[in-house]
Symmetry: C2
Subunit: 265 residues, 2 copies
């Protein structure tokens, strides 16, 4: 068996999220089906392991999965073969051979997410599935100041949706930036950290836009760390604006090389 | 009755084109329904007149319609009211009051279309509904040279799909440009002329990409004008790449002020 690491992009609009579910169109479900077709449907079937889930409607520019394939094919054959079989809203970006100790989920050392926030009064018809929307006047400098409060190791208990199965809510954020694209009338928020809890980015964005629109004090994030109360963060921004941009593995980023300790995952 | 001129954008993906049809979701159908709801469903119903049709899957950044409304509302009320009623894949960009001699179709002096051509080996999942795709090596300078052959008054009989009801196939193209966006890995083709025949832009793009990829001689467009034979233009590029960008009315463009003569429409 040869282990392949595959990087893929998808438009999450028409998927019920990443995780396989009966009778639902999911990323894992479609990918598993196509990988098995390519391998002539072996028994037992090939299992596809993702770096983690994305919710319904969330997009990916660089999701990562691994699987063990029965034939030693060149990476180009995996790349082309899967792309030919996959539907148009999924695309393989890269296929690599990896050692059979590599694990797409357990070896993650970090993830990078982008959130696209459209500021139009009415939702642009070309952006409805690809951005979240915020109609209130917003001060980009206030947003940028607030984003800095995310950097570092914090207890994100106020920023996790119910249903999370994580052992710990402690996560470290390495980068958190906000950029106003005037031409597109959008704010792009980018987050890079060692791990993210269930709905965490969408809740973080909900808090920073409220700070940017004077609905919360400038450093309310510091207070939210203390209170550890999800109800005080209120807003979960729409899935349509969220993109999993990149998954980092042990050693890939020399500044932040190590994976998250198992007891925190 | 007050006549309003309304400029709108739409994502054509989920519409069966512009023209009203029973049991189909069309731009004209949805818009007519919402305008009549806003006017409290008068009898006879308000009729919406478009600048012309767009096909199923074709998008608009600046389609124009007019209608006569029973109440004298401020343009801002028309703008906001319609935007609140319309589905998320349509958006009113502008509402204006016009004289009751203005006609959205008969007073058109020109139209501007853009075609987005993705050059990726596999179709980008975020572009599948928003670009056409061309996988062959293509020389942008050859494309640009070919585009110049469109400029001027020509007989476009080789560039019209069967089913056209136009009285004449003579049209004048004022501008025809091609631009390679390396970062997006796309060619953007832009056409501005006094009128376009059925499927004409998509057929024109099919010919220039074949020229750009050495499948036709550099000035094959000149030969196609002469032969007046649609079969020789072959390819109609996908609707998903085409955008109606702007509709011009008499006098709006000082360089090309007059509308197309009625016998040519």
């Amino acid at each position: 068996m040869i282990r392949y690491k595959v990087t893929l992009a998808y438009d999450g609009t028409l998927f019920s999220g990443f995780e396989r579910q009966p009778d639902r169109r999911t990323i894992e479900g479609v990918l598993t089906q196509k990988v098995n077709i390519m391998a002539k449907n072996p028994d037992p079937a090939i299992v596809v392991y993702g770096s983690g889930r994305t919710d319904a409607g969330v997009h990916a520019l660089g999701q990562v999965v691994h699987f063990d394939f029965p034939f030693d094919l060149p990476t180009k054959a995996i790349y082309r073969g899967l792309n030919s079989l996959l539907p148009l809203d999924m695309e393989i970006k890269k296929a690599e051979k990896v050692s059979d100790t590599f694990h797409a989920r357990y070896d993650v050392s970090g993830k990078r997410y982008v959130y696209r926030l459209d500021l139009g009064e009415f939702k642009d018809p070309f952006k409805r599935n690809y951005t979240g929307n915020w109609r209130f006047p917003i001060d980009i400098e206030r947003v940028q100041t607030a984003m800095k409060d995310f950097i570092g190791e914090h207890d994100f208990s106020s920023f996790v949706a119910s249903g999370s199965t994580a052992r710990s809510n402690i996560r470290t954020i390495y980068e958190a930036t906000a950029y106003l694209d005037k031409e597109a009338n959008e704010i792009r928020l980018e987050f890079y950290g060692n791990g993210f809890l269930y709905n965490m980015v969408r809740i973080m964005v909900g808090v920073v836009v409220e700070i940017g629109s004077q609905m919360r004090p400038e450093h309310d994030i510091l207070r939210l760390y203390d209170v550890k109360d999800r109800d005080q963060a209120r807003r979960t921004m729409p899935a349509s604006g969220l993109y999993l941009k990149k998954v980092y593995y042990e050693g890939e980023d020399p500044q932040h090389p190590t994976k998250i300790p198992k007891h925190q995952r």
